[in-house]
Symmetry: C3
Subunit: 114 residues, 3 copies
Protein backbone atom coordinates (compact mmCIF):
# COMPACT_ATOMS: atom_id res chain seq x y z
CA UNK A 1 0.00 0.00 0.00
CA UNK A 2 2.71 2.41 1.03
CA UNK A 3 4.68 1.46 -2.09
CA UNK A 4 1.71 2.07 -4.33
CA UNK A 5 1.15 5.49 -2.82
CA UNK A 6 4.77 6.39 -3.40
CA UNK A 7 4.46 5.15 -6.95
CA UNK A 8 1.39 7.28 -7.54
CA UNK A 9 3.05 10.33 -6.03
CA UNK A 10 6.08 9.72 -8.22
CA UNK A 11 3.88 9.42 -11.31
CA UNK A 12 2.03 12.55 -10.27
CA UNK A 13 5.18 14.62 -10.15
CA UNK A 14 6.27 13.06 -13.41
CA UNK A 15 3.07 14.42 -14.94
CA UNK A 16 3.73 17.83 -13.40
CA UNK A 17 7.21 17.66 -14.88
CA UNK A 18 5.77 16.95 -18.30
CA UNK A 19 3.37 19.84 -17.93
CA UNK A 20 6.12 22.19 -16.84
CA UNK A 21 7.96 22.69 -20.13
CA UNK A 22 4.77 23.16 -22.13
CA UNK A 23 3.64 25.85 -19.74
CA UNK A 24 6.96 27.60 -19.99
CA UNK A 25 6.27 28.09 -23.72
CA UNK A 26 4.20 31.09 -22.73
CA UNK A 27 4.06 33.89 -23.63
CA UNK A 28 3.04 32.01 -26.74
CA UNK A 29 1.88 35.18 -28.42
CA UNK A 30 5.33 36.69 -28.42
CA UNK A 31 6.95 33.55 -29.71
CA UNK A 32 4.48 33.29 -32.58
CA UNK A 33 4.81 36.99 -33.42
CA UNK A 34 8.55 36.57 -33.61
CA UNK A 35 8.14 33.57 -35.87
CA UNK A 36 5.68 35.39 -38.13
CA UNK A 37 8.11 38.28 -38.38
CA UNK A 38 11.01 36.04 -39.32
CA UNK A 39 9.06 34.04 -41.88
CA UNK A 40 7.53 37.18 -43.36
CA UNK A 41 10.99 38.67 -43.90
CA UNK A 42 12.00 35.74 -46.06
CA UNK A 43 8.64 35.10 -47.73
CA UNK A 44 8.04 38.66 -48.94
CA UNK A 45 11.20 39.13 -51.03
CA UNK A 46 10.63 35.70 -52.54
CA UNK A 47 7.02 36.54 -53.39
CA UNK A 48 7.93 39.99 -54.71
CA UNK A 49 10.26 38.40 -57.22
CA UNK A 50 7.10 37.16 -58.88
CA UNK A 51 5.52 40.60 -58.80
CA UNK A 52 6.39 42.51 -61.94
CA UNK A 53 5.52 45.75 -63.64
CA UNK A 54 3.77 44.80 -66.85
CA UNK A 55 3.37 47.39 -69.62
CA UNK A 56 1.91 47.36 -73.09
CA UNK A 57 0.81 49.89 -75.72
CA UNK A 58 -2.70 50.80 -76.78
CA UNK A 59 -2.93 52.61 -80.14
CA UNK A 60 -5.81 54.56 -81.60
CA UNK A 61 -6.45 56.69 -84.66
CA UNK A 62 -6.58 60.39 -83.94
CA UNK A 63 -5.11 62.36 -81.07
CA UNK A 64 -6.49 60.32 -78.14
CA UNK A 65 -5.69 56.84 -76.76
CA UNK A 66 -6.98 55.33 -73.53
CA UNK A 67 -5.60 52.75 -71.15
CA UNK A 68 -8.00 50.17 -69.71
CA UNK A 69 -9.35 50.64 -66.20
CA UNK A 70 -7.00 49.47 -63.49
CA UNK A 71 -3.89 50.41 -65.45
CA UNK A 72 -1.72 53.52 -65.39
CA UNK A 73 -0.37 55.66 -68.21
CA UNK A 74 3.42 55.94 -67.97
CA UNK A 75 3.93 57.60 -71.35
CA UNK A 76 2.38 58.54 -74.68
CA UNK A 77 3.65 58.34 -78.24
CA UNK A 78 2.26 60.42 -81.08
CA UNK A 79 2.16 60.17 -84.85
CA UNK A 80 3.77 62.85 -87.07
CA UNK A 81 6.92 62.72 -84.92
CA UNK A 82 5.19 64.76 -82.22
CA UNK A 83 6.59 64.65 -78.67
CA UNK A 84 4.13 67.04 -77.00
CA UNK A 85 1.45 65.21 -75.07
CA UNK A 86 -0.49 65.27 -71.81
CA UNK A 87 -2.56 62.77 -69.85
CA UNK A 88 -6.24 63.48 -69.28
CA UNK A 89 -8.34 61.97 -66.52
CA UNK A 90 -5.44 59.71 -65.48
CA UNK A 91 -5.93 57.22 -68.31
CA UNK A 92 -6.10 59.07 -71.62
CA UNK A 93 -3.17 60.17 -73.79
CA UNK A 94 -3.68 63.39 -75.74
CA UNK A 95 -1.24 64.42 -78.46
CA UNK A 96 -1.01 68.17 -78.92
CA UNK A 97 0.57 68.78 -82.35
CA UNK A 98 -1.40 70.08 -85.30
CA UNK A 99 -2.07 67.05 -87.40
CA UNK A 100 -1.91 63.76 -85.49
CA UNK A 101 -2.81 60.53 -87.31
CA UNK A 102 -2.32 58.13 -84.40
CA UNK A 103 -1.76 58.15 -80.64
CA UNK A 104 -0.44 55.36 -78.43
CA UNK A 105 -0.69 55.07 -74.65
CA UNK A 106 1.82 53.02 -72.68
CA UNK A 107 -0.31 51.24 -70.03
CA UNK A 108 1.19 49.59 -66.98
CA UNK A 109 -0.01 47.51 -64.07
CA UNK A 110 1.47 45.39 -61.31
CA UNK A 111 1.12 41.68 -61.88
CA UNK A 112 1.42 39.30 -58.95
CA UNK A 113 2.87 35.99 -60.06
CA UNK A 114 1.94 32.60 -58.70
CA UNK B 1 -8.46 0.34 -1.09
CA UNK B 2 -7.35 -1.78 -4.01
CA UNK B 3 -10.29 -0.43 -6.03
CA UNK B 4 -9.36 3.12 -5.24
CA UNK B 5 -5.77 2.49 -6.30
CA UNK B 6 -6.96 1.02 -9.58
CA UNK B 7 -9.23 4.02 -10.04
CA UNK B 8 -6.36 6.39 -9.45
CA UNK B 9 -4.12 4.49 -11.84
CA UNK B 10 -6.89 4.58 -14.43
CA UNK B 11 -7.32 8.31 -13.95
CA UNK B 12 -3.58 8.78 -14.15
CA UNK B 13 -3.36 7.11 -17.54
CA UNK B 14 -6.41 9.06 -18.62
CA UNK B 15 -4.44 12.23 -17.88
CA UNK B 16 -1.46 10.87 -19.77
CA UNK B 17 -3.82 10.13 -22.65
CA UNK B 18 -5.03 13.72 -22.61
CA UNK B 19 -1.47 14.92 -22.58
CA UNK B 20 -0.53 12.66 -25.46
CA UNK B 21 -2.24 14.48 -28.36
CA UNK B 22 -1.04 17.87 -27.26
CA UNK B 23 2.50 16.58 -27.11
CA UNK B 24 2.18 15.13 -30.60
CA UNK B 25 1.57 18.69 -31.85
CA UNK B 26 5.31 19.14 -31.63
CA UNK B 27 7.33 20.17 -33.44
CA UNK B 28 5.15 23.22 -33.00
CA UNK B 29 7.60 25.37 -34.92
CA UNK B 30 7.15 23.40 -38.11
CA UNK B 31 3.39 23.41 -37.83
CA UNK B 32 3.30 27.17 -37.33
CA UNK B 33 5.76 27.78 -40.16
CA UNK B 34 3.57 25.74 -42.45
CA UNK B 35 0.53 27.71 -41.38
CA UNK B 36 2.32 31.05 -41.88
CA UNK B 37 3.37 29.92 -45.33
CA UNK B 38 -0.16 28.92 -46.30
CA UNK B 39 -1.77 32.07 -44.96
CA UNK B 40 0.91 34.27 -46.54
CA UNK B 41 0.23 32.72 -49.95
CA UNK B 42 -3.36 33.80 -49.82
CA UNK B 43 -2.88 37.10 -47.99
CA UNK B 44 -0.21 38.54 -50.30
CA UNK B 45 -2.12 38.40 -53.62
CA UNK B 46 -5.14 39.89 -51.84
CA UNK B 47 -3.04 42.69 -50.38
CA UNK B 48 -1.21 43.31 -53.66
CA UNK B 49 -4.53 43.96 -55.38
CA UNK B 50 -4.60 47.12 -53.30
CA UNK B 51 -1.06 48.05 -54.31
CA UNK B 52 -1.09 50.13 -57.46
CA UNK B 53 1.28 52.10 -59.60
CA UNK B 54 0.21 55.69 -59.34
CA UNK B 55 1.45 58.24 -61.90
CA UNK B 56 0.88 61.94 -62.51
CA UNK B 57 2.45 64.76 -64.50
CA UNK B 58 4.47 67.67 -63.21
CA UNK B 59 4.81 70.56 -65.68
CA UNK B 60 7.22 73.47 -65.62
CA UNK B 61 8.10 76.36 -67.89
CA UNK B 62 11.42 75.94 -69.68
CA UNK B 63 13.31 72.78 -70.51
CA UNK B 64 13.40 71.17 -67.04
CA UNK B 65 10.74 69.52 -64.87
CA UNK B 66 11.32 67.63 -61.64
CA UNK B 67 9.46 64.83 -59.91
CA UNK B 68 9.06 65.01 -56.12
CA UNK B 69 11.37 62.94 -53.93
CA UNK B 70 10.28 59.36 -53.53
CA UNK B 71 8.85 59.15 -57.03
CA UNK B 72 10.32 57.90 -60.29
CA UNK B 73 10.36 59.47 -63.76
CA UNK B 74 8.87 57.07 -66.30
CA UNK B 75 8.72 59.55 -69.19
CA UNK B 76 9.01 63.18 -70.22
CA UNK B 77 6.95 65.31 -72.58
CA UNK B 78 8.25 68.46 -74.21
CA UNK B 79 6.73 71.59 -75.72
CA UNK B 80 7.30 72.51 -79.38
CA UNK B 81 6.48 68.93 -80.41
CA UNK B 82 9.91 67.79 -79.25
CA UNK B 83 10.45 64.08 -78.50
CA UNK B 84 14.13 64.22 -77.54
CA UNK B 85 14.67 64.17 -73.78
CA UNK B 86 16.80 62.66 -71.08
CA UNK B 87 16.50 62.21 -67.32
CA UNK B 88 19.03 63.92 -65.07
CA UNK B 89 19.82 62.86 -61.51
CA UNK B 90 17.02 60.28 -61.58
CA UNK B 91 14.23 62.80 -61.07
CA UNK B 92 14.59 65.63 -63.59
CA UNK B 93 13.29 65.71 -67.15
CA UNK B 94 15.39 67.66 -69.63
CA UNK B 95 14.07 68.45 -73.10
CA UNK B 96 16.78 68.77 -75.70
CA UNK B 97 15.28 70.64 -78.67
CA UNK B 98 16.19 74.24 -79.51
CA UNK B 99 13.31 76.26 -78.21
CA UNK B 100 11.29 74.55 -75.48
CA UNK B 101 8.47 76.49 -73.79
CA UNK B 102 7.40 73.79 -71.34
CA UNK B 103 8.50 70.40 -70.00
CA UNK B 104 6.45 67.78 -68.18
CA UNK B 105 7.71 64.87 -66.13
CA UNK B 106 5.59 61.75 -65.65
CA UNK B 107 6.14 60.83 -61.97
CA UNK B 108 5.21 57.42 -60.58
CA UNK B 109 5.18 55.71 -57.22
CA UNK B 110 3.79 52.56 -55.65
CA UNK B 111 0.76 53.13 -53.47
CA UNK B 112 -0.20 50.52 -50.90
CA UNK B 113 -3.95 50.53 -50.38
CA UNK B 114 -5.69 49.85 -47.11
CA UNK C 1 -4.66 5.62 3.95
CA UNK C 2 -7.97 7.35 3.38
CA UNK C 3 -6.25 10.69 3.79
CA UNK C 4 -3.60 9.82 1.27
CA UNK C 5 -6.24 8.77 -1.24
CA UNK C 6 -8.06 12.06 -0.75
CA UNK C 7 -4.79 13.86 -1.20
CA UNK C 8 -4.07 12.03 -4.41
CA UNK C 9 -7.57 12.69 -5.69
CA UNK C 10 -7.13 16.38 -4.85
CA UNK C 11 -3.82 16.47 -6.66
CA UNK C 12 -5.37 14.69 -9.61
CA UNK C 13 -8.07 17.29 -10.02
CA UNK C 14 -5.46 19.97 -9.54
CA UNK C 15 -3.65 18.53 -12.55
CA UNK C 16 -6.91 18.44 -14.50
CA UNK C 17 -7.39 22.08 -13.53
CA UNK C 18 -3.98 22.93 -14.88
CA UNK C 19 -4.76 21.11 -18.08
CA UNK C 20 -8.09 22.87 -18.46
CA UNK C 21 -6.89 26.32 -19.52
CA UNK C 22 -4.36 24.96 -21.98
CA UNK C 23 -7.05 22.86 -23.62
CA UNK C 24 -9.33 25.85 -23.91
CA UNK C 25 -6.66 27.46 -26.12
CA UNK C 26 -7.97 25.31 -28.92
CA UNK C 27 -8.86 25.81 -31.66
CA UNK C 28 -5.22 26.81 -31.88
CA UNK C 29 -5.42 27.03 -35.65
CA UNK C 30 -7.93 29.84 -35.58
CA UNK C 31 -6.01 31.79 -33.00
CA UNK C 32 -2.79 31.55 -35.00
CA UNK C 33 -4.55 32.44 -38.25
CA UNK C 34 -5.96 35.52 -36.60
CA UNK C 35 -2.52 36.47 -35.32
CA UNK C 36 -0.91 35.93 -38.73
CA UNK C 37 -3.60 38.09 -40.29
CA UNK C 38 -3.06 40.92 -37.82
CA UNK C 39 0.73 40.85 -38.06
CA UNK C 40 0.59 40.62 -41.87
CA UNK C 41 -1.58 43.75 -42.02
CA UNK C 42 1.07 45.77 -40.24
CA UNK C 43 4.15 44.09 -41.73
CA UNK C 44 3.15 44.44 -45.39
CA UNK C 45 2.73 48.23 -45.56
CA UNK C 46 6.02 48.61 -43.66
CA UNK C 47 7.79 46.25 -46.06
CA UNK C 48 6.20 47.85 -49.14
CA UNK C 49 7.66 51.20 -48.14
CA UNK C 50 10.98 49.65 -49.04
CA UNK C 51 9.67 48.41 -52.39
CA UNK C 52 10.19 51.05 -55.05
CA UNK C 53 9.85 51.44 -58.76
CA UNK C 54 13.35 51.93 -60.10
CA UNK C 55 13.85 53.33 -63.62
CA UNK C 56 16.86 54.23 -65.72
CA UNK C 57 17.63 55.00 -69.36
CA UNK C 58 19.48 52.83 -71.86
CA UNK C 59 20.73 54.72 -74.96
CA UNK C 60 21.93 53.32 -78.26
CA UNK C 61 23.00 54.68 -81.59
CA UNK C 62 20.43 54.23 -84.33
CA UNK C 63 16.69 53.71 -84.08
CA UNK C 64 16.63 50.81 -81.59
CA UNK C 65 17.37 50.57 -77.86
CA UNK C 66 16.73 47.58 -75.61
CA UNK C 67 16.01 47.18 -71.92
CA UNK C 68 17.72 44.34 -70.05
CA UNK C 69 15.78 41.17 -69.33
CA UNK C 70 13.57 41.39 -66.29
CA UNK C 71 12.81 45.08 -66.81
CA UNK C 72 9.92 46.84 -68.52
CA UNK C 73 9.90 49.67 -71.05
CA UNK C 74 7.77 52.56 -69.81
CA UNK C 75 8.78 55.03 -72.50
CA UNK C 76 11.17 55.80 -75.35
CA UNK C 77 13.01 58.96 -76.33
CA UNK C 78 14.33 59.59 -79.83
CA UNK C 79 17.00 61.75 -81.39
CA UNK C 80 16.13 64.43 -83.98
CA UNK C 81 13.28 65.66 -81.76
CA UNK C 82 11.16 62.70 -82.80
CA UNK C 83 8.21 61.69 -80.61
CA UNK C 84 6.91 58.77 -82.67
CA UNK C 85 7.97 55.42 -81.28
CA UNK C 86 6.73 51.93 -80.55
CA UNK C 87 7.87 49.05 -78.38
CA UNK C 88 8.83 45.78 -80.03
CA UNK C 89 8.91 42.41 -78.29
CA UNK C 90 8.16 44.05 -74.96
CA UNK C 91 11.71 45.30 -74.38
CA UNK C 92 12.89 47.20 -77.46
CA UNK C 93 12.27 50.85 -78.28
CA UNK C 94 11.92 51.68 -81.97
CA UNK C 95 11.94 55.29 -83.15
CA UNK C 96 9.96 55.83 -86.31
CA UNK C 97 11.09 59.16 -87.80
CA UNK C 98 13.24 59.37 -90.93
CA UNK C 99 16.69 60.07 -89.66
CA UNK C 100 17.29 58.98 -86.07
CA UNK C 101 20.78 59.28 -84.60
CA UNK C 102 20.03 57.87 -81.16
CA UNK C 103 17.27 56.06 -79.25
CA UNK C 104 16.82 55.74 -75.49
CA UNK C 105 14.63 53.25 -73.63
CA UNK C 106 13.32 54.03 -70.16
CA UNK C 107 13.64 50.71 -68.28
CA UNK C 108 11.87 50.04 -64.99
CA UNK C 109 11.74 47.29 -62.42
CA UNK C 110 10.46 46.77 -58.91
CA UNK C 111 13.14 46.77 -56.27
CA UNK C 112 12.45 45.21 -52.89
CA UNK C 113 14.41 46.97 -50.17
CA UNK C 114 15.95 45.32 -47.17
Amino acid sequence: MKNLSFLLLFLFFLVLGLLGPSMSLCPMDEAISKKINQDFSSLLPAAMKNTVLHCWSVSSRGRLASCPEGTTVTSCSCGSGCGSWDVREDTMCHCQCGSIDWTAARCCTLRVGS
